[in-house]
Amino acid sequence: MGWPLVNNVLLSLRKVTLRELISRDVVWVGFDNYRTILADPAFWDAVVRSVLFTAACAATTMVVGVLMALLLVRLPRFPKLVLSISLVLAWATPVLAATTVFQWLFDTDFGVVNWLLARVGLDTEGHSWFSTGRSTFLVAGLLVVWQAVPLVVFSISAALATVPPELDEAAVIDGATASQRWWTITFPLVRPMIGVLAFLQVIWDFKAFTQVYAMRRGGPDSSTTTLPILIYQEGLARSQFGLAAAASVVTVAILLVLLALYVRSAVRAEEVR
């Protein structure tokens, strides 16, 4: 497990381009790669984009996922089956295929979304969803959330199944409202599961490459160039493997810091209770 990581760190301290790979020269450059990256304003722009994108996607995924899980356990048998199958299908769609489908859904001239919105009276004919970074992020984010929600729904609904129904019944008899029951009975019991899922979502969304890259290759005007795309563009496409390794080490470090903050606040919250 640790070997690729160690190798990556060592790589980040070397100048490795195709030339070095072919000549087999090992050129140690110390922290030059890190200096280059950290001095690049485009890198920090990408960090901000990545953090915001991750926060928005992970939060939306969790909220939608939990709400749908609550819906799922309450549905009668047949609608439940239909919803479950739809979720599995969304989950099972290959990422690249799903991205292509979303691109067409939001296409300027032939997209179903523009057509539907025009039907309900909005002036969306010929609206370009990919003309600004924000709007491109919106589409990419929808796609990421759409594919991430099923796992959350199934995991949470499994967790909900472990909540003893007697507790809920007792609370109903005591006259507790639905929201009171959720916050005092159900939520504390599924909380660990929510915590784990949110943790995973943050990791997955932070390193989401395919969806964002395939959507507009980090455009327009590099406005959707997140960290993974920047690493690909600066490092791999230009064969600057050392630089790419350094950028990936920094990415992991940022992710670790974010997760450490998250875990700390989660533990704190636990202690307060």
């Binding site: 190798n7 195709l18 087999r24």
Partner: protein, 427 residues
């Protein structure tokens, strides 16, 4: 906890050092005067050279070198860059490789290929057409031999031209007038487009830019400067906008999304700017177009010459780690020589690497394409150009910005700065 991690890390670090030094040792012993082997491994791309031509080349080589064997391995384009990188950095690289002409600079610069200038006379380097040969040159030395090329032409509907009383235009202004007339004559047809030209067909824009005397990037010492903030760039995008305004194609998409030949195949498009194979694909998708489609060269501002075009194609190179470089050079000389260039061009309808051979082409479409190739250019020959195309392509963003109303000067300054930035930095 801490102790548990230190031991493996130490082992790993030591292991890596050993592995790396071992690699270094290998390279030294490998690059000595090892005896030339009488066997070649050649990597060709799928669909580039017909099997029949390859067989004849191999047979000719065997006549020159009795007992020589050639193993041809056909590669797929998908993922070829990584595959070539891995193979060339490996211990036993193929002797001859085919690569996309825009990838050549990367392999030339990195020392992966042999300098071909020693075999200058044998290869006939002086006879190669300049546009095609330029992609194989790095730092004044030749590392790539042009194998074949193709370039864009205007694919048009002969029946629609006839009906609208329009003839094949000879200049850019005539072209705009003809397209306008086509639109007027077919105003009653829903979804009719005199030309299908999406906003990000950037190779078409590059042609207009070269025509105006500009370039995508200009070499400035060791680095490059973006060329979209120049008067030439503004003139070129002005022309592009003029032509694009006659199309209903999206301003924020390139020619592949959707594939323009599919739009053309629907039957309501009179022209598109594409590669000759797209004509075949369009007819394949709609048989009714059979016999109603032809091509003409992209017009320039003057009737004397056709417009500048981007030359897509591939080159051959000899890997630096080849164990039979002399045999490889002889194979290369045959494949890129007059005899087999003619055979290849006739069999595949591609542009051969010698201008002198253009007259031998028989297919009318290939003839027109090859004629226009005389005014062919390539993207900046530098490994760092790949970085410009890899992410969000600033040229495409520039085009969409101007087409949707941004001032060309402002958009050009921004795009140029981005190109300059991506093409700077150490190699």
């Amino acid at each position: 906890m801490k102790q548990r991690w230190t031991a493996p890390a130490l082992v790993a670090a030591v292991g890596l050092t050993l592995a790396l030094s071992a690699c270094g040792g290998d390279a030294k012993s490998g690059s000595g005067d090892a005896a030339e082997k009488n066997a070649l491994t050649v990597w060709l791309m799928n669909g580039s050279v017909p099997d029949k031509v390859v067989q004849s080349v191999n047979a000719d080589l065997a006549k020159q070198h009795p007992g020589a064997t050639v193993t041809v391995e056909v590669q797929e384009w998908n993922g070829i860059q990584d595959k070539l990188t891995t193979a060339l950095a490996g211990n036993n690289p193929p002797d001859v490789i085919e690569m996309g002409n825009t990838q050549n600079a990367k392999f030339s610069q990195s020392g992966a290929l042999l300098d071909l200038d020693a075999d200058k006379a044998k290869l006939g380097i002086d006879q190669w057409s300049k546009g095609m040969a330029s992609s194989g040159v790095w730092d004044g030395k030749t590392y790539g031999a042009p194998l074949l090329a193709a370039n864009r032409v205007v694919i048009y509907r002969t029946d629609l031209f006839e009906k609208a009383g329009v003839t094949v235009p000879k200049t850019f202004d005539e072209w705009v007038a003809a397209t306008t007339k086509l639109n007027q004559a077919n105003a009653a047809t829903k979804d009719f487009q005199g030309i299908y030209l999406p906003g990000q067909s950037w190779y078409v824009y590059a042609g207009l830019l070269w025509d105006a005397g500009g370039d995508l990037a200009v070499k400035d010492g060791d680095s490059w400067k973006g060329g979209l903030d120049t008067p030439a760039a503004a003139e070129a995008i002005g022309k592009y906008k003029q032509l694009q305004s006659l199309s209903k194609a999206p301003k924020d998409a390139d020619e592949a999304t959707p594939q323009q030949f599919e739009v053309f195949a629907e039957g309501n498009v009179a022209q598109m700017i594409g590669l000759p194979w797209e004509m075949g694909s369009a007819v394949g998708a709609n048989k009714k177009l059979d016999g109603k489609v032809a091509v003409f060269p992209i017009p320039s501002s003057s009737a004397d010459k056709s417009g500048s075009v981007f030359l897509g194609g591939s080159n051959l190179g000899i890997s630096a780690g080849s164990d039979s470089p002399k045999l490889a050079a002889d194979w290369l000389a045959l494949m890129t020589g007059e005899k087999y260039q003619t055979e290849l061009a006739l069999a595949s309808n591609v542009v051969p690497n010698r201008t002198a051979l253009l007259s031998k082409l028989t297919d009318p479409t290939a003839k027109i394409m090859a004629g226009a190739a005389a005014n062919g250019h390539v993207t900046p020959v530098d490994p760092r150009w790949a970085g410009v195309e890899a992410g969000a392509n600033p040229v495409k963003d520039y085009m969409t910005a101007v087409l949707t109303g941004t001032d060309p000067a402002a958009a050009g300054t921004k795009a140029s700065a981005e190109i300059t930035k991506r093409m700077s930095g150490a190699l």
